[in-house]
Symmetry: C2
């Protein structure tokens, strides 16, 4: 697989094959693979390709044919959709250990969403044929992916339900509470995205986000600090909104 003779110009976006011994960067860090034996991980790693993208680069777009699984090994990826009317909606953000590409991989040949590097990012790609082979050979991988999928499905449905049943204020409060739960350092956390993206994720506009956060601040629930940091002063109050 890995050609040792690799030259820079053979590498789109600094694309490189792995050589054994450079395993650590991706396969071993994703839950779907890291329960395997070392030798099995090496085997998978041997079929993987590493590709780097610079900030802002598009990794795939809707309509692209693709047949690879993308595992984030470094950086951050924005997954978003464009509606028929052309509006953008942020679906989720991938951090190292997350993967994407599953739709094109298991169902259809083309993507419906867009993947964009939010910062300089490295992914490893596993081709559909290789992955299928491994799934048949090591069925426990499938169980891991099924677990991941069912969690994602649940989250997606929960998100839909929220958007249709709760008002913006409530959705925002819930989002803040969840971030506190996942990311809190003390009683502060850092927004993982711009407020523009947050608006798109929550199904509203940047203006409304801005206003609602100010209201929360006026009401003493939170305090906004520089560099996207938010201190939560009254979590319970927030959740009663």
């Amino acid at each position: 697989m890995p050609s040792k003779e690799m030259h820079v110009h053979e590498c789109n976006h600094h694309e490189c094959n792995y050589t054994s011994g450079t395993r650590n960067s991706c396969v071993s860090l994703v839950p779907i693979f890291n329960h395997l034996e070392e030798t099995q991980m090496d085997e998978i790693m041997a079929t993987a390709r590493s590709v780097s993208y610079k900030k802002g680069e598009i990794i795939y777009r809707a309509g692209d044919k693709s047949d690879s699984l993308y595992i984030v090994s470094k950086g951050k990826i924005r997954i978003y959709r464009l509606s028929d009317s052309g509006k953008e909606q942020l679906v989720r953000i991938l951090i190292p250990g997350d993967f994407t590409g599953e739709y094109a991989l298991f169902s259809k040949a083309t993507h419906e969403s867009y993947a964009e590097a939010m910062v300089d990012t490295t992914v490893c790609m596993i081709k559909q044929a290789d992955l299928h082979e491994f799934l048949l050979k090591y069925p426990s991988i499938s169980l891991k992916i099924l677990t991941e999928f069912s969690t994602r499905l649940e989250q997606s449905e929960r998100q839909t339900t929220r958007v249709v049943t709760e008002k913006v204020e409530t959705r925002l409060a819930m989002f803040l509470a969840e971030e506190m739960d996942r990311e809190a350092q003390g009683n502060e956390f850092v927004l993982p995205m711009s407020k523009k993206d947050l608006a798109s994720y929550l199904g509203t506009t940047p203006e409304t986000i801005s206003r609602k956060l100010s209201e929360f601040e006026d009401q003493g629930y939170i305090k906004q600090k520089p560099r996207k940091r938010i201190e939560v002063l009254d979590l319970d109050g927030l959740l009663l909104v």
Copy 2:
């Protein structure tokens, strides 16, 4: 199908084990199993339990512990969620061949949604332990389920995007167009649910659905007929809304 010796009181909701030879009602009709050999399907069927529910009965509810996959063999099931604020949202409707229960099965022990029989319904249930065994034994089943999951995930994300980016009128028009695509007999189709449920599915209210359908009718795009039948007169016009 019921064992021949079945007595009413041995069967909760007319619950019965399968005997070989009565295979046809469920395992063989779902895409996730029907690619298997006859003998393999028989093997799975032997572990399945058939349960019937009367119209309106709840099959599972949020918070229930469950460890079974439910495959619809007859009838129709409404899957819905309740938001934190208590509002109901219709997630999807299952018809024979569809399955549910995956979240409790692969991720957590409890359901987040509700499943209710819309008409008299029969499901077959496969226990988690049995299913896991089959997945490891026949890895191709996992691939089928992965395909199904990734399709559902895509649909769910598409639904979220629509709800947040399109207005009600557009969502309704798209829904009608999709139903035409899937269910049309001539240029008519039958709504698969009440307008109340449709409202909940599309994230709006029955009043709005009623009004928008009247508008579409006034504009000559559709014609509403008795028994939930809708004739589409101008599909293109509808999609330009």
